[in-house]
């Protein structure tokens, strides 16, 4: 893959980030010490059930959280691209942002480009404005309703350009807007349409066009296809992955439906109750899910081919984040639960010596607590027993 060279280069580093919601009846630890690195041009899939903290994590990275949510610890470091390399096709004259980046960088050396790091959590509001959309843009959940119903599509695109690129004249803004629509597969004569005149899929494409307006380095997609039909969903996924490969964009794709990520993402991170429980290359994760929760998620959807068999899904419900069970948060639902799961909180560690890239937070892979590494078939066997029990009653 062409992007493999690029991915070695880190774009974003999240270190031990904590997000709490300060509610009247107890603090909700929505994101709990999550750390990961994101390479340039990489597509990271972030999966988990609702309430697992995946959206909160993304909003924390974009600094979009509002009270009662609060980032109570950690760092988000952003490494801007060395600007010489950026293609001339981009409208964003890269030096523009380089200035902004230098202002915004807490750790930037005075004159060197190499060490330029942006500490996202320390940016002032003005710097944040320059950072968002230029470097990082976000497509929200139910994006179909994110368009202003009384403004034309074209106006909504040029709006972004007007705010962030005041140097562009009205004509070039409009030209750019048309170009963007073409990019996402909408005919440019739709610039004068209102959102209600577009179908759901087209509205979603328009939103993606707005997110791409300044050709950001990184894009966060928060469940962009949940409200769409299968065929349209598939088209949007193809569009998104095509754009990412074409422009070398980095993406975090958030969804609760792991099946969507398998073809799209380079790496997949799985969250449960505010914690990262497993992360690895998507193919590895598909073939050998290590955490019992990952296995459960992968086997929550029936397949089209192969034998028709009873499936169990994952028993129970996600925990109340005000009262997460002690030990491993997944222990009340886990079919492979054993003694230490109730007392010791598992830490992320390499699942197998052969593949140190795949990390998992589960005592089954900790030689102190569990002998031998369980194979995927072992996990499957436990889930099958569960399926038999659940249908037998």
């Amino acid at each position: 893959m062409a992007t493999s060279v690029r991915t070695s280069d880190t774009l974003l580093e999240v270190k031990h980030i904590n997000v709490d919601y300060l509610a009247a009846n107890g603090t909700v630890h929505a994101v709990n010490k999550v750390s990961f690195k994101l390479g340039r041009g990489e597509i990271l899939g972030l999966a988990g059930e609702s309430g697992s903290g995946k959206s909160t994590l993304a909003y924390a990275i974009a600094r979009l959280l509002r009270p009662p949510a609060e980032i109570t610890g950690g760092e988000v470091l952003y490494y801007p691209r060395l600007h010489e390399g950026k293609e001339g096709q981009s409208l964003v004259t890269t030096t523009d942002f380089a200035r902004g980046a230098k202002r915004g960088s807490a750790k930037a050396s005075e004159n060197g480009h190499e060490n330029e790091v942006i500490d996202v959590l320390q940016l002032t509001p003005a710097e944040l404005r320059a950072f968002r959309w230029n470097e990082l843009s976000i497509v929200f959940q139910s994006a179909m309703n994110a368009l202003n119903p009384v403004m034309k599509i074209g106006t909504q695109i040029t709006d972004v350009l007007q705010t962030h690129r005041p140097d562009l004249g009205p004509d070039s803004r409009k030209q750019r807007a048309a170009e963007l629509l073409r990019l996402v597969g909408i005919s440019p004569d739709r610039l004068n349409s209102y959102p209600h005149e577009l179908s759901g899929g087209m509205r979603q494409r328009a939103i993606i066009a707005i997110a791409l307006a300044l050709r950001p380095e990184m894009i966060i997609m928060d469940e962009p296809t949940t409200a769409l039909d299968v065929v349209v969903q598939r088209e949007i996924l193809e569009l998104v992955s095509g754009l990412c490969r074409e422009f070398g964009m980095t993406m975090i794709f958030i969804t609760h439906d792991l099946s969507l990520l398998l073809e799209l993402a380079d790496r997949i991170a799985i969250m449960y109750a505010g914690k990262l429980v497993e992360m690895g290359a998507s193919k590895e994760l598909l073939m050998h899910p290590r955490h019992p929760y990952s296995y459960g998620l992968l086997n929550s959807f029936p397949t089209i081919h192969g034998p028709r068999r009873k499936m169990s899904g994952i028993p129970g419900y996600p925990p109340d984040l005000r009262a997460v069970p002690p030990g491993c948060p997944f222990n009340p639902r886990c079919p492979l639960v054993f003694g230490e799961c109730h007392t010791v909180v598992p830490e992320l560690r390499s699942a197998t010596p052969e593949n140190p890239e795949q990390i998992v937070a589960c005592h089954l892979y900790d030689p102190r607590f569990h002998e031998g590494i369980p194979s995927t078939a072992d996990i499957a066997a436990e889930y099958d027993k569960l399926a038999e029990r659940s249908t037998a009653r």
Binding site: V231, S300, F301, P302, G313
Partner: protein, 372 residues
């Protein structure tokens, strides 16, 4: 309608086939309130000539994208809408569309519905007990408070909401999506129906919870010999859940038959499109990447395309497809489709048309490779 030929055995013999609820040639046009000086008034042609039958202890899946008319069919069967034309038969007797609230209630005692969105189908100001006690009292299954409480607890246990004593006094906001949907299922069961119409019962839920609800409904189907109509846009869950699958496109039923047959050997180009768009982990494991055979979205149903409504998107469209909708072709084993590629009713078209049908066989072949 005279177009129906004798190759639809289910509908012709209602008594002997044992169908509990049947729909024949249902059609629904929603009026469009728009001032038009000239021409006939416009209407949304939501459902065009749909026929289906539900059997006790069996599930039928209705698959299609939004706007395909699948929910409209369920709502007509639940008598939330009256069909523009066509008949609904319950236990072989045609259902009268006239008749007041009493007739409606008598009908709904037997036919209940579970809605898509458990967040809006429960009243936020009432607790679980109230939601379940309403149908119990309305249909005369419980009279005193003690009876109501006892039956509500039974219902909660049946949908695996335990401890039931705790759930009985909870309000919807205290429940998760999956728990709410269980309450909605319990509410439908409270009337002790024979037919359950489930309109995308899991699409609003988390993937991990979906199977739980589907398994619950499968268990109830077996235990109570319920006839289930399962509406979904996810063709894989149709295969998991239902014995029989019907595929709809833009208000027309295009293919149907035993689920495995329809999904493993899809004939209609639209069914093939749906299947290639569905995520498939087997395909990824083998490192294959499927391309979509067609693109686009469901057309406006105010002025739908003529003939077969799929023809503007169909990769195999022929001139005849624009002219009229093909008759149902029986493919054997209960599998049928409405597509000129496979003939027109019982009669095969000329040989030239059959040679055009090569492309779908190709995609079909690769589908078989995958399954092996």
């Amino acid at each position: 309608m005279s177009t129906q030929n004798s190759s639809t055995p289910v509908i012709d013999r209602p008594e002997s086939s044992g169908a509990i609820l049947e729909a024949e040639h249902l059609r629904k046009v929603f009026p469009v309130r728009q001032f038009r000086l000239f021409g006939p008034p416009l209407g949304v042609q939501a459902v065009e000539d749909a026929s289906l039958a539900l059997y006790p202890g069996r599930a039928t899946a209705l698959v299609g994208e939004s706007g395909s008319g699948k929910s409209t069919i369920a709502r007509m069967l639940a008598r939330l809408y009256d069909p523009t034309s066509g008949t609904i038969r319950f236990r072989g007797e045609p259902v009268k569309l006239s008749g007041g609230a009493r007739a409606m209630r008598a009908y709904r005692r037997h036919i209940q519905m579970v809605f898509q969105d458990p967040f809006s189908s429960l009243n936020p100001v009432h607790d679980v007990r109230y939601h379940l006690s309403r149908p119990l009292r309305l249909y005369g299954h419980a009279r005193t408070n003690a009876e109501v409480t006892q039956q509500v607890l039974e219902l909660l246990n049946r949908v695996s909401l335990s401890p039931a004593e705790q759930f009985i006094q909870k309000y919807p906001y205290q429940l998760s999506g999956g728990q709410r949907q269980r309450v909605a299922v319990a509410r439908a069961l409270a009337a002790r129906p024979e037919v359950l119409l489930a309109d995308e019962p899991v699409s609003m839920l988390d993937v991990s919870i979906r199977l739980d609800i589907l398994n619950l409904m499968l268990r109830l189907k077996d235990e109570e010999q319920l006839a289930l109509l399962f509406i979904t846009h996810d063709i894989a869950s149709a295969r998991y859940f239902a014995e029989e699958t019907l595929v709809m496109y833009a208000g027309q039923t295009v293919e149907g038959g035993p689920s495995d047959e329809v999904i493993q050997k899809p004939k209609h180009p639209y069914t093939q499109l749906l299947i290639s768009a569905a995520p498939d982990s087997d395909r990824i494991k083998e490192g294959k990447h499927a391309t979509l055979p067609a693109r686009g979205e469901i057309p406006s149903l105010i002025r739908p395309p003529s003939g077969c409504r799929f023809h503007p998107r169909c990769p195999h469209a022929m001139p005849i497809c624009k002219e009229r909708f093909p008759k149902r072709t029986d493919l054997g084993g209960g599998h049928w489709t409405n597509c000129f590629l496979y003939g027109d009713g019982g009669t095969n078209l000329e040989q030239s048309l059959i040679t055009v049908s090569k492309p779908p066989t190709k995609t079909e072949m690769s589908g078989q490779e995958k399954s092996e």
